[in-house]
Structures are given as C-alpha cells and as structure tokens.
C-alpha cells in the first residue's frame, strides 16, 4: 500500500480551537475534552493539536518536532541540523503509553537557531532560511520528517483518535494561550504519522476540515515558489498558501482570506469603488490561489488565530465568545462542553474570516 504523499487521501474531519485574548495560559486538557466530544467525526486514523505559548523558556528559538522512522534517519538529520543550526536543547518528546496509540515513530524535539555565518551566506532572512531547511529535511532525508518548526509553539500529532493522541503526548502538562485540534476521517488507511494534522510551517499551523476541489491547481501554482507538497493533503497546500500570501507577499490576513475564499464577482461588483478595485486586483493577481470546494480551517499563528470557511460554506463551523475567551469548532457541542453559557455564538458566513488576536 502506498504511503501518504505517494497517494492523495481525502478526509472528513473535526476541528476545534480555544483562544485566550488575555494571553492566559491554559493546559491542553480543555482542548482534548472539546475535540473528544466530536469523536464520531473522526475514525481513529489521525488526530493532532497545536499549542501556542507553550515554550516561554525557549521563546526565541525554533522548536523542531521531528518524526524518525529509523535511528539512521535521526543520525543523518542531526548531522544536518548541526551543520546549519545552533542546537540549544534536544530531547525525546515525553509520551505515555496508551492502548489507542501503537506503532509510533521516534519523536524528538530540538530548540535551534540558524548558525549566524550560514545564515549570512544564504542571503535569506531567518524565517526563509528555516523554511528552506525544513523543506530540505522533509524531502531529502529519508525517514525524517519535521512536523513542527515555529517559535514558542508546537504541534503534536499521530495516528489514532485525537483524544488518545492528546493523552499520548501528555498535553495536560503544557500550558498555552491558544490550542487547536484536529480529528481525522480519512477515506483510506494512512499508516504514517506525518500525514496527521495539524500541518505547520514556522509558526503557522493549520487544522482543516474539507476536501478542496482546487487542490492540484493550488499545488502546481504554489510549487513555483520553492514549496514542495510532499503529503498531497489539502492542509499542507493551504499552509503554504498562507505562508506565501501572509509572510512572503505581505498581505494582511483579511486580504489573504479574500484570495483563498474570494468573494463572487457579482458580490465584488456591488462593493464601493475602492473596495471593489482592491478585491478585483487580489482575485486577478492571485487567481490560482483561490481555494475551491468545501473547507473550514483554523489557522494558528504567533499571537493569533483565524477561522475561515469556503465561500459557499460547505462545511460547518461555529464561533463563540465569553469574556476574553474565544472558541471555534465544527460543532457547537464541542464549545458547550467547555463553556455551557457563551455570551455570543454564531456561524460565520462563507468566506468571512474571523480573526482573533491577543489583547
């Protein structure tokens, strides 16, 4: 059977997110409880989490979380890292044995910083250098896969139900101001942990529910800019699109959202002239980055979170607020289990981004 990346596997899913605008750090227990409520939206073949603000003691270093299939892969990867990065700390990621999780790879964590001389030679900025290095490890070093590479954030994922994956990684021992979660329902049997979600690049992480019909149009376009879609998943390509639009092109998140879930031309024509001009421009210039077909995504980034639906809203997604807390989930039950009495609860319209940032 082909491994994920050699074959494209569509999935249905559940997503959930919790955000404290006050920056209050919460343990991972809450997000596990939330995603577990939507147990039937996943089928035990993938689950994962992203936490932000979890590594305050290393907040200026890139935290690489890496899966290794073999000891050789680890040796090769570590020698690569030593060549290009200053490794400040390395360790196995602590896990707990649970019956729902089997066949785990070696899972290691490194806190690193680009070697200043190498960085200067590369003529790239620090983020670009790190992105290039991560793509290089993932495409060139057999059996090694960097699945988290941001600062003061981390992704934890695997094959299993999300609540089992959360317990496996002992997420109740981490504290973050933002958590996102994903439960996967693939239509195939991916045995590989790298294929689980969230998918992350630098501090961007994406959890996504949907099967986009524009996949190959998006993939073939974004690959022009040095990205390599290795997993053939929607989540991967959406992450690269956001990285390209937000970090590399410098679009705001609202602008990026109006590229990915572009308003219909008929809607654009009804806007006031300045707005219309801008939307026409963005849709024309980035036409190949329109994401078509059903999706709901939660983008985590340093200091914020964005929720976005496809322009027809073909996937459910609900948002709720209570005080400084914001909740997002595929189903309302996943919010009510944490906050039975939110002050406001609503289903954002298709293509209408909900952007939440720290106060």
């Amino acid at each position: 059977m082909l491994r994920e990346g050699d074959v494209r596997i569509p999935s249905g899913c559940a997503i959930a997110g919790i955000f404290s605008k006050a920056g209050e750090r919460m343990s991972g227990a809450g997000i596990i409880k939330s995603i577990a409520t939507m147990h039937d939206r996943s089928n035990g073949l993938g689950g994962g989490f992203a936490g932000y603000g979890i590594y305050p003691e290393y907040k200026d270093l890139y935290a690489f979380h890496i899966f290794y299939e073999t000891q050789d892969a680890r040796d090769n990867c570590e020698s690569f890292l030593e060549r290009y990065f200053d490794i400040v700390n390395l360790s196995k990621i602590p896990t707990t044995r649970t019956s729902g999780i089997t066949n785990e790879p070696l899972i290691w964590r490194y806190f690193v910083y680009p070697l200043p001389t190498r960085l200067a030679d590369s003529q790239m900025d620090e983020k670009e250098y790190t992105v290039h290095s991560v793509i290089r490890i993932n495409t060139r070093i057999e059996g090694a896969y960097v699945f988290s590479s941001g600062k003061n954030m981390g992704v934890f994922k695997g094959v299993g139900f999300p609540e089992d994956v959360g317990r496996f990684y002992r997420l109740d021992e981490y504290k973050g101001y933002c958590w996102t979660a994903h439960g996967r329902y693939p239509t195939n049997t991916p045995g590989w942990w790298g294929g689980a979600h969230p998918f992350a690049m630098l501090d961007y992480s994406i959890v996504h529910n949907g099967e986009i019909s524009s996949y190959d149009a998006n993939r073939r376009y974004i690959e022009m800019f040095g990205y390599k879609c290795k997993l053939l998943t929607d989540t991967e390509v959406i992450t690269y699109i956001i990285d390209y639009l937000h970090r590399r092109q410098g679009l705001s998140l609202e602008e990026a959202a109006s590229v990915m879930a572009a308003p219909f031309w008929s809607t654009i024509e009804r806007k006031p002239p300045e707005e219309r001009e801008k939307l026409r421009y963005l849709r024309n210039v980035f036409a190949s980055l329109l994401i078509n077909g059903p999706f709901s995504i939660l983008l985590g980034f340093e200091g914020g979170m964005m929720a976005l639906n496809d322009r027809l809203k073909l996937r459910s997604m609900v948002v709720a607020e209570k005080g400084d807390m914001v909740y997002v989930a595929s189903e309302e039950c996943a919010i009510r289990t944490l906050e039975p009495a939110p002050e406001r609860i609503w289903a954002p319209k298709g293509g209408e981004p909900v952007i939440i940032t720290l106060n």
Partner: protein, 501 residues
Amino acid sequence: MSIDFLYPEYEVIRNLDRCILCRACERQCANDVHHLDTDIDRMVSDDAKCVNCHRCVSLCPTRALKIVKTDHTFKTNSNWTGESITEIYRQAATGGVLLASMGNPKDFPVYFDKVLLNASQVTNPSIDPLREPMETKVFLGKKPQKIERDRAGKLINNLEPNLELSVPVMFSAMSYGSISYNAHESLARAAEELGVYYNTGEGGLHNDFYKYGKNTIVQVASGRFGVHKDYLQAAAAVEIKMGQGAKPGIGGHLPGTKIVGDISRTRMIPEGTDAISPSPHHDIYSIEDLRQLVYSLKEATAYTKPVIVKIAAVHNVAAIASGIARSGADIISIDGFRGGTGSAPTRIRDNVGIPIELALASVDQRLREEGIRGNVSIVVGGSIRNSADIVKAIGLGADAVYIATAALLALGCHLCRTCHYGKCNWGIATQQPELVKRLNPDMGFQRLVNMVRAWQHEIKEMMGGMGINSIEALKGNRLMLRGVGLNEKELEILGIKHAGE
C-alpha cells in the same frame, strides 16, 4: 490525358421522384455542378465539380439530393491508398504543390478524446450551476510578482494591461480576405455581445469594424499587411503571429484575385497584387529580435495593451515558450497541428507540428518549473471542438482557448475543405458578392453567441460536477483529468494519471 482522369470522390444522388425541377440546386452551386438538361427534362449533375459542401442538399425544397462517398475504388492497398495514388496523378499532370484547406484530417490521436473528467462523490459536494453562482470570468495577461503598497499601506494596482473575458473562449485569427466581410461582422458583433474578443488575422481592420475595437485583437504578421498606428490603437490587444498550426514554418499567400476593393484598401496593397507573407518575420531571426518587436508595439500603444505572441506547436515548443515568456509578451498563444487554414500546402498541413494537448501540457509544466508561469497567460487553439475540450485544456493549464473552425461551423461552414477555391457556397471563405450575401450577419452573430453560451452552460455543468465554482480553480488542475488508453510516456507528458489510478 486519360491517365490523369480521376474518378470523382463524391457522387450527387438525386431522387428523381422527388425532384420538381425548381433548379434551386443549380442557382446555389458556385461550382456549377447542377444543370437542367432540356433534352431529357431532368436535372443532371457533374460529380467531378462537387466539393461536398451540402449547400444544394440543405436548400433542396423536396429533399431530393444527397451526397455519398463513391464506392469506385482502386485495388485495395493499405500502403498505396486511393488518395496517395490520385495525388501522384495530380502532381504528375501539373508539377504543382498540393493545396488544402482547414485542419489536418488525418488519423492522428486526438488526446482530448483520451482524457476523462472527474466528478464529486460523497467526500465533497458537487455544485448545481442552476442554483449556485458559477464563475467563468478570466483575465489574460501578466501577473505582478510582488504586491506594492503606498505610504498609507493601501495596495497599489501594479497590474499590467489585461484582457477580461466573460468566458475563456476567443475567436481566433482569420483575415478579412480569407473570410468575407459578413463573416467578420458576425465574429466582431458576437465577441462584443459575449464579452470576449475576435482576431483580425493578417488582413487589417476594415473601417466599419473600428467600433468593435474594444473586443478586437489585431494581428501583426510577417507581411505587416494593414498595420498602422490607428489599427494598433483601435484594438484591445496586439498579436504578433510567428506561426500557425496548420502550416508551421511557412508564411501565407492570398492570391491577387482576392485583393479587390475593400480588401486591397484594408491590407494597404494595390488591387490585384498577391499578398505574400514571408515565412519568417524578416526583422525577427531570434528571440532577442522578438523582444524588440514586442516593445516596439508596446511603445506604439503606450503600454496600454497586452501583446500576444502566437506560435505553432512544434517539437521544441516548451523552450520556445519559455523564451517568449521572458521577452515581454503578456500572452502566448499556441496553435496545434490540427488548426485550420484558408489554404496551406497539404504536405505541410498533414505532417508538420504536434498535437496541442501535448504542446500545452509541456509548456505549462516548463513555465511552472521555471517559476515564470505568472509572466504570461496561455491561450490554445487547433483544435477545440466543444466545451469538453475547453474544460480539458484548462485542466491541463490553459488560461483560455481560441476557436476558429468551430466558429465557422456555427456560421454554416460544412467543412468541405476547399476554402482555397474562393467559391464558398456558404458565403464565408469567398469574396464574390453574390456568395458573401448568403451569410446574414444578423443570423451569423446570433448563432455564434448561441454556440458559445451553450458551451458556457456545459462548462458550468462540468465544473459543478467537479465541485468547482470558479474557473480559475480548474486551471492546471490536472488531478481532475485521467487518461484512457495512453502509454506511460503520453501520461508523463500530459502530467496526468491513468483512469483507475
């Protein structure tokens, strides 16, 4: 000499029980096939003159006529076919180059017919175009590589001139001269009505049609016929014709007999002189020369119009396109070896060039590998026959398509492939006034609009089935395509998987 006798390829069959001797067939046939034999009081026909254009068949009020392929035959031979033998007789008798019209009719693979489309089932929903918006608008032209902002942080519109199309279909180059005034008027009015563009070809722009300028692409070809300042400035875009799919590597020749009246004036050459377009542009012997012409035309139009470079699909098309994408051109148009023509040497038409599907797939892939796909849009033609071909072309990576043969069919062409005789009974490929007036532009324009609108509906249905509601999400979306009966190499070039994979 009797050895030069060629038995007619088609026979006119007349049902004498139905024939009422109205002589409509006689009046309609510019080739003088029919006449009344007063001795026997019957209509008779000379099959040898028949080009099988169906004009008489279509207008016979009693349906007394039909045309059949003759069963007269040489001794069966898979190598020396009847066609090969008769061509030798014709050349032995005349010493001439064989001429032909319209696209390559030979039995080469049609890759569009070996590609199948996807549809949504279960894991994502199909979209119903009758109930949901379904968008077919496209823009052709360069895309900026970086966004720019002003001091206040507002996005600056740094787009270069683009063409906006309501549906990704344009009418391809056919010159006034190769086709009639009425055919041109039909195309121009249809382009305006549809929100797309038609192309003048290398025949200049008739004074009467300047009013359709915003829906007109003017062509600059190797003969430079009809090119002047007003012509360039009247148009929405300027196309440099480097080659044509039906006759890659050679120019064109409109005989002096067709250079009459308005045609002479529009081409800016004296009446009765042959209009000979050289094989190459004699100011373009290399890619750096092309760049100079591109920028000359941009200078002449004050950088307000996109420049298209049209090439024939030939073996090295990907590398050529890559060069063009760096030459300042905004749009590359590629014409496949099945593209039509008003006249071409038969051997060239039938043996030179490559299929558009393969050319498109390799150009799109090459430009992406080089990271310059955004520098240019790609328009393909030669030959696009229906809406499914368009969906497949866009799936392979095209931004839009050019149609010409299909447009002529909509105007009444019956594909008899004798445009070069100049006696088109349907009023399309002729300059004889009594024939030209058979094509009514009021009806012609409406039929073109009908056809493109019908295709647009079908494109929307197919897109909706795939769960796509905007055509830009289809562009280059090769996972939506699967090959059937193709070998590994063909699949590799097309960049698609085989059905079942």
